[in-house]
């Protein structure tokens, strides 16, 4: 067994001479790059904060209890992600699939909350993309975060289906781990957005 793992390490094309996994390192670098992406969007939001000439302001429209609930959903889903990975490592594939499902489901719930939030803003509060600088910068920032969550939900769902069809096991630990890295990152970005956009008056 020990011999087997040794040859494993030498021939695995995903492991570099540093002993680190290419894919995991690539994901970390992508996340660094994505920090700049969200940094630019948040910077734009802050630059335009309080500069709108008309339309409702942030605290005329925000539903803090609902958004807090959404934030709790994402935070909980990060825990489920960790559980999914742990179960996969124990080769308990069914349990891993369940936690992947839970992660994706909570993520989807978050996205649906956002759809509801956007709809009420547009229909009840009269805030759209083209109402004011606040409308433009708010919807584009949170919308791109929502798009990231949606992408994550798709990714996790595919992993779940693969697990259920017996095409995912311990050997795929890194694949699930990098999906997890992405998921936690999206979660952390939401904490920043929730604080900066929703909570700070």
């Amino acid at each position: 067994m020990a011999d087997h793992t040794a040859t494993h390490a030498i021939h695995d094309p995903n492991i570099g001479t540093t002993g680190l996994d290419h894919r995991k390192m690539g994901m970390w670098i992508f996340l660094g790059s994505d920090c700049m992406f969200f940094g630019s969007l948040i910077g734009t939001y802050l630059a335009y904060k309080g500069k709108s000439l008309s339309g409702p302001g942030p605290h005329d429209v925000f539903n803090i209890p609902l958004t807090s609930y959404s934030a709790a959903l994402l935070l909980a889903s990060s825990l489920f992600m960790v559980l999914a990975l742990t179960r996969l490592n124990e080769d308990r594939i069914k349990a891993a699939a369940f936690w992947l499902f839970a992660t994706a489901a909570f993520g989807l719930h978050f996205v649906l909350n956002q759809v509801y939030e956007f709809t009420t803003f547009a229909l009840d509060e009269g805030l759209t993309l083209s109402t004011s600088l606040f409308g433009s910068s708010f919807f584009v920032l949170t919308g791109f975060h929502g798009a990231h969550v949606t992408g994550g939900v798709l990714w996790l769902s595919i992993l779940m289906v693969l697990a259920l069809r017996g095409k995912l096991d311990r050997r795929d630990y890194t694949k699930v781990e990098i999906a997890g890295l992405y998921w936690h990152f999206v979660d952390i970005v939401w904490i920043a957005i929730f604080t900066i956009v929703y909570l700070i008056p």
Binding site: S33, S40, Y48, S136
Partner: protein, 612 residues
């Protein structure tokens, strides 16, 4: 027989379309970049002909706007960047002793996305709506109010596609450089071109998100009615300038650092001395990378940011001249006392040092806001950035082309024609751009399509135009050289220049697996050490043992794949849908997701017999 011939041709074409070999992708990048370089050059020549005499009517004002926009965009994104990318692709794995990049299919994807973005931007010519807002696309000239046609759309969506390509390549090369180095190659033993490319990749992945966001905001303004750049709603067009230059200034270093890396390889080889103070050159490159993110507002001194911001950015800009000066000193120190061979690669590198220094000096001039206020938007600035980007990047890249051509093609370029190319280019370049300093100082603004005869600008403009034709002639010489030596050039052999780094230890052109036996590295100039020892009486380093057929049979190379090409096409369908119909966006989007899935799943389980 013709049938088999056709099948053979088809097979060759298919093998290039599905290739994941970093060397082939490098060749694809290089040849595409050269074609776009010629297109950008033709655009420049037309502009120079228009400006040759006062009140000229060769092209209209509108065409002139399109020409300078597309010239800038083409030269930066479609010529210099992919030229650099071709060297990253071809040379980085060879220089670090690897058999391929970390993600070979992602590498192919970068190239196909680059090509589709490049073709997309240039397709605007066919529809008669070439971009006309300058390569910097300032808001709110780019708004639907002032640019109602699709011209800005082609530009903005094309750049967005190119950005995806550059960032994917950046992720790939960072991982490749960190993770694929041959045993023994510590970071400080990495050759200088690897180091400068490494810094460049970080600039790419950290700077491109800023322009991505700037372009997304512009896209939303133009398509979905947001107000980011609309002063009527309180929007600030300066937001664009900030986001654009937060990208745009690191971009300048993205264009120049690879050329600096090439020069740092060529000089030691032709001076037959190690690079003088190599750690200083490395750390200067890193410092340039860091400072590159802190100087963007020196592009904006004339917008009135106030004395504090002006002073801060002015000081930061002057500081960045320090690591650049260190590099120039070290290059000269490398030549000092060397046994110099004046071959064409070295000539281009020397041209780089001289021209780039001149461009750097005029750069320090307009680091000072009061001076900049005099020079901004005049031909002085045009002269400055052509001295750094043509005199710098292009001279450096052509140094690399002459240096590594024999490695890539197995044949040497003709030395006599190479020298003709160099001297014509050097003379033509200085005739074109040096007079533009004078023109700028006597008040000629940038981006004007003609001027009145009594302004006194016609003499230097005529000199400049003649110079540009000499540059064009120099590239005719280069093309003749390539065509002539492709078949009948002197065979290069593995090590035509008595090289210092690992790429010269393997055949030219290298076999598909690069290194039959993985090398072990003891020094930055590993191959020199293997040949000559350390020059202080130390024994030469041991060479890898000769490869047996069994060694070669045991090498697994990544299989070709058509998914990179198909995925790039799907992305192009999706993005161009914004100009056609919502259905095309949806179909393209679903297609993209499907292709991403298939791409990811292609090697989900290793094929039978390749179980590891």
């Amino acid at each position: 027989m013709p049938g088999t011939q056709a099948a053979k041709t088809q097979g060759v074409l298919w093998s290039w379309l599905t290739t994941v070999d970093h060397k082939r992708i490098g060749i694809l990048y290089g040849s595409s970049a050269f074609i776009f370089f010629l297109i950008g050059g033709i655009e420049a020549i037309i502009m120079r002909l228009q400006l040759a005499r006062p009140d000229n009517t060769l092209v209209s004002a509108q065409t002139f706007n399109e020409l300078f926009t597309m010239h800038g965009t083409t030269m930066i994104f479609l010529a210099v960047m992919p030229f650099s990318a071709s060297f990253f692709n071809y040379m980085l794995p060879l220089l670090i002793g690897a058999r391929d990049v970390a993600f070979p299919r992602l590498n192919a994807l970068s190239y196909w996305i680059f090509l589709s973005g490049a073709l997309f931007i240039n397709a605007s010519w066919l529809f008669g709506v070439a971009p006309d807002g300058g390569w910097f696309g300032y808001a709110n000239l780019s708004s639907t109010q002032f640019s109602p046609t699709h011209s800005i759309d082609f530009w903005m969506l094309g750049l967005q596609i190119l950005g995806i390509s550059s960032m994917l390549a950046g992720f790939n090369f960072i991982v490749t450089i960190i993770n694929m180095r041959a045993p023994g190659m510590t970071l400080m033993r990495m050759p200088l071109f690897v180091w400068m490319s490494f810094v460049t990749q970080f600039l790419l992945v950290l700077a491109f998100p800023a322009i991505t966001v700037a372009l997304i905001l512009l896209m939303f303004d133009r398509f979905f009615g947001t107000l980011f750049y609309a002063p009527s709603a309180g929007g600030d067009p300066l937001l664009w300038q900030h986001l654009f230059w937060i990208f745009g200034h690191p971009e300048v270093y993205i264009l120049i650092l690879p050329a600096m890396g090439i020069v740092s390889e060529v000089l030691p080889t032709f001076a037959r001395k190690p690079l003088f103070g190599a750690p200083f050159v490395i750390f200067s490159g890193i410092m340039i990378g860091f400072f590159g993110f802190g100087v963007w507002s020196h592009h904006m001194f004339s917008v009135g940011m106030g004395p504090v911001a002006d002073s801060a950015f002015s000081i930061a800009t002057m500081l960045i001249a320090v690591p650049t000066g260190v590099k120039i000193l070290n290059w000269i120190g490398t030549l000092w006392g060397g046994s110099i061979r004046f071959r064409s690669p070295l000539l281009f590198s020397l041209g780089f040092i001289a021209m780039f220094t001149m461009g750097g000096l005029s750069g320090i001039m307009h680091a000072s806001p009061p001076v900049d206020l005099q020079q901004t938007d005049t031909y002085f600035v045009v002269a400055h950035f052509h001295y750094v980007l043509f005199g710098g990047s292009i001279f450096g890249l052509f140094s690399g082309i002459y240096y590594w051509w024999p490695k890539i093609n197995g044949r040497l370029l003709d030395e006599r024609l190479g020298k003709w190319h160099f001297w014509l280019m050097l003379i033509g370049f200085n005739m074109t751009f040096f007079p533009q300093h004078f023109l700028g100082l006597i008040g000629m603004p940038r981006r004007i399509y003609t001027y009145a005869p009594d302004l006194g600008w016609h003499f230097w403009n005529m000199v400049s135009t003649i110079g540009s034709l000499i540059i064009a002639l120099s590239f005719v010489v280069f093309i003749v050289n390539v065509v002539k030596t492709m078949r009948s050039g002197t065979p290069a052999g593995p090590d035509p220049w008595d090289g210092r780094t690992l790429e010269w230890s393997i055949p030219s052109p290298p076999p598909v697996y690069n290194f039959a036996i993985e090398p072990t590295v003891h020094d930055r100039d590993e191959f020199w050490l293997q040949k000559n020892g350390d020059g202080h009486g130390g024994k030469p380093a041991s060479r890898p043992r000769a490869a047996t057929p069994q060694d070669i049979a045991a090498i697994h190379m990544p299989a070709p794949s058509y998914w990179p090409l198909v995925l790039a096409l799907a992305v192009a369908v999706m993005v161009s849908g914004l100009l056609v119909s919502t259905y095309q966006i949806i179909v393209g989007g679903l297609l993209t997701l499907f292709c991403m899935y298939r791409f990811a799943m292609e090697h989900h389980r290793p094929a039978a017999g390749h179980e590891y």
